[in-house]
C-alpha cells in the first residue's frame, strides 16, 4: 500500500466520522464544526487527485464564507432543538427508505457504463501543471461571455435582495454619524446648580 493510498484511507475515515458527527451530535454549533471538518477532509481528498483549485475553493468558499455565515445564523437564532427531534421514530422508516434509494442510485450511477470508473479514469499531469492556471486561461478567454453574465446575475441578486429587505421602519435605532460628530457639549450636558446640603 503506497503512502498516497494510506493518506486516502486516513482522510476518508475522518470524512466519514465527521459526516456521522454532523447528524448525531446534539449541539448545532458542534454539528456545524463537524461539517467544517468534513469540508476540510474532502478538500484534502481532492488534493490527492490533483484537483488543487477545487480543494482551495472548497475551503475558501464553503469553510470561509458559507459555514461562518451558518455559524452566525445558529448563534443568532435561538433554535429550540427539542421539537425538531420529536417524532424521530415516526419518520425513521421513511428516512431509511430514502437513504436506501440514494445508496442504490449512487451504486447504479458509479457502476453504469456512462459514469463508471473505467470510463473516467484519473488524470495525472506533470509536476509543473497548474489547473488553476488552466481554468483561468479558459474562463477569462473562451468563456468570458458566460462568466460576465454570471457576474451580472450576482448583481441582480444583490439588487433584488436589498430592494426586498431594506426598509426604514419606525422606531428602529440607528446611528447618524454626521450628527454624532457635530454634537456639542450643550446638547448632552446640563449643569444643574443645587444648594449644598448641610450636615446637621
Amino acid at each position: 500500500m503506497g503512502f498516497e493510498k494510506f493518506l486516502f484511507y486516513v482522510f476518508s475515515l475522518i470524512l466519514v466520522l465527521a459526516s456521522v458527527g454532523v447528524i448525531t451530535v446534539r449541539n448545532p454549533v458542534r454539528a456545524a464544526l463537524f461539517l467544517v471538518l468534513a469540508f476540510f477532509t474532502s478538500a484534502a481528498l481532492w488534493l490527492l487527485i490533483e484537483a488543487e483549485f477545487l480543494a482551495i475553493t472548497l475551503v475558501l468558499v464553503y469553510v470561509g464564507a458559507v459555514m461562518v455565515l451558518f455559524l452566525f445564523v445558529i448563534m443568532m437564532l435561538d433554535i429550540n432543538v427539542a421539537p425538531v427531534q420529536e417524532g424521530f421514530t415516526k419518520y425513521l422508516p421513511f428516512g431509511v427508505a430514502v437513504a436506501l434509494i440514494i445508496v442504490v442510485e449512487m451504486g447504479l450511477m458509479v457502476s453504469s457504463s456512462y459514469f463508471g470508473g473505467d470510463r473516467y479514469s484519473l488524470v495525472s499531469h506533470a509536476a509543473d501543471y497548474s489547473n488553476t492556471k488552466e481554468l483561468g486561461s479558459v474562463l477569462y478567454t473562451f468563456y468570458v461571455y458566460p462568466f460576465e453574465i454570471a457576474s451580472v446575475i450576482l448583481l441582480v441578486a444583490i439588487i433584488a435582495a436589498i430592494s426586498l429587505t431594506m426598509r426604514r421602519r419606525e422606531g428602529t435605532k440607528s446611528q447618524n454619524p454626521s450628527r454624532q460628530v457635530r454634537v456639542s457639549r450643550d446638547d448632552r450636558l446640563r449643569i444643574v446648580r443645587m444648594a449644598a446640603e448641610k450636615n446637621k
Binding site: Y114, S137, T141, F142, Y143, V144, Y145, P146, I149, A150, V152, I153, L155, V156, A157, I159, A160, S163, L164, R167
Partner: protein, 479 residues
Amino acid sequence: MNFVAPDFMPVLPELFVLTMTCLVLVVDVFLEQRQRHITYGLAQLTLLGAALLTLFTYAHAPVTTMFGHYVKDAMGDLLKLCIYLASAAVFLYSRDYLRRRDLFKGEYYVLGLFGVLGMMIMVSAHSLLSVYLGLEMLSLSLYALVAIDRDSPVASEAAMKYFVLGSLASGMLLYGISMVYGATGSIDIQLLADAVAKQGLGNPVLVFGLVFLVVGLSFKLGAVPFHMWVPDVYQGAPTSVTLYIGSAPKLAAFALVMRILVDGLGTLQADWQQMLIILAMLSMMLGNLVAIAQSNIKRMLAYSTISHVGFLLLGILAGTPEGYAAAMFYTIVYVLMAVGAFGVLLVLSRTGFEAENIDDFKGLNDRNPWLAFLMMVIMMSMAGVPFMVGFYAKWMVLQSIVDIGLVWLAILGVLFSVIGAFYYLRVVKCLYFDKPEDNTPIEMSRDTEVVISANGLLLVVLGLYPTALMSLCSTALLG
C-alpha cells in the same frame, strides 16, 4: 494556446443595455422621490438606444461570436426589437400606476432592464450555457419584481410560489442540459446539433435529456401540465408587473424553444413533436375551459395565456419553416394583445382601487367610449374574430399543421378557440351592455393615451395588412 479577441460588434446592444442599466442604478441612488421621472426617462432611453443599435446592425446572415456563445441572426434581431418595444410600452403604462401606489421606485426600472438584458441574452444564445444564464437573469428579476410591493401578502405569496416553481423548472432544464452535454460532449448549439444528427436517439441519456429539456421549457412557457404558477402569479403580482411578465418574456421563451429544440435538437423533431402535441392539446383545452369560470380578469387572462401558448406550440411542432414563422408571428401578436389588455387594466386602476374583476369593466362605454372600443378590439383579436390580427395569427398556425397532415389537431384547435371566444366576448358584453357600477372619471396621461390607442389600432391594421410583419418573420427564419 492561441487566443484571438472575439468580435464585440454584434454584442453591442447587450453591452449598451448593461452599461446603461448600471448607470440607471447609480443615478437613481442620488435622486429625490420627486425626481424619479429621470430614472424612468433613462430607462426608456436605454431601450431606444438598444433599439437603434439593433436596427443599424440588423443581421442578414447569422454571425457567431464570443467563441460560439453568442449568435446574431435575423430572428434574434427581430425578436429583440419586439422586446424593446414591448418593454417600453410596459414602462409607460405602468408609470402612473406605480406612482399612485407608492411603488414608483428605481428598482422597478433597474430590475426591468436587467430582465430585458436577460431576454436579449436568451434570444441570441448560441450555447446551452448562455441560454441558461440568460434565463436565470430574467427569472431572478421577475421573482423580485413580483414581490416589489412588500406590504401586499398576496404578492409575497405569488412571488414565493413563482420562485419555488421557477427554481424547480430551472433545475429540470439544467438537468436536461447536463444530460445532453453528457451524451454529446458539447454545449455549443451547432456542435450539439451535429453530434445529435450523428448518433440519433440510440443513446438513452440523450432521450432523458430531451424529456427534461421539454419539461423545463414548458414550465417556463406555462404549458399544461406545467402551468400551475401562471394564474397565481398573474393574479398576485401588482398589475404593472403582471403586464411585464405577460409580455416580453413570452418572446424570449419562444426564442428559447427555437434555440434549444429547433436549432440544437432539430434532428429529433419527430420525437419532441409528439410531446409538444400533448402539451399543446392540454394547454388549449384547460386554458380555454378554465378561463370561462374566472371572475378575476387577471386570472382569466392568465388562463388565456395558457391557451395561447398551446397555439404557439402548434406552430413549433409543425417542424416546418412556415410553422416556425407562424409561431413567431403568433408570439409577437400575442404580446401586442397582452400589453394592450393589461395596459387598459392599469389605466382603470386608480389610487385605492385595483381594477381586476371583469365587473370593473361594466359600462366602460359610458365612462370612456374610446377606451371601451380599444378593449373590445383587443378582446376580439384575442378571440380570433376575423379582420383582427389574432384571427390571421391563428389561421397561419393552423394552416402550418394542416400542411403536415395533422388535420384532427387543427380541428381541435378551432373547437377550443370557439369555446374560448365565449369569455372574451363576455368582457365585450360587460363593456357595452351593462350599466357602470361607478362613474369615477378615468384619468390617463396624454402619452399613455396615444400609445394605448396606437397599440389597439395596430391590431386592426395588422389584421387588415398582415403580410408585412409575416414576411419579416418568414425572412427572419428562412434566412
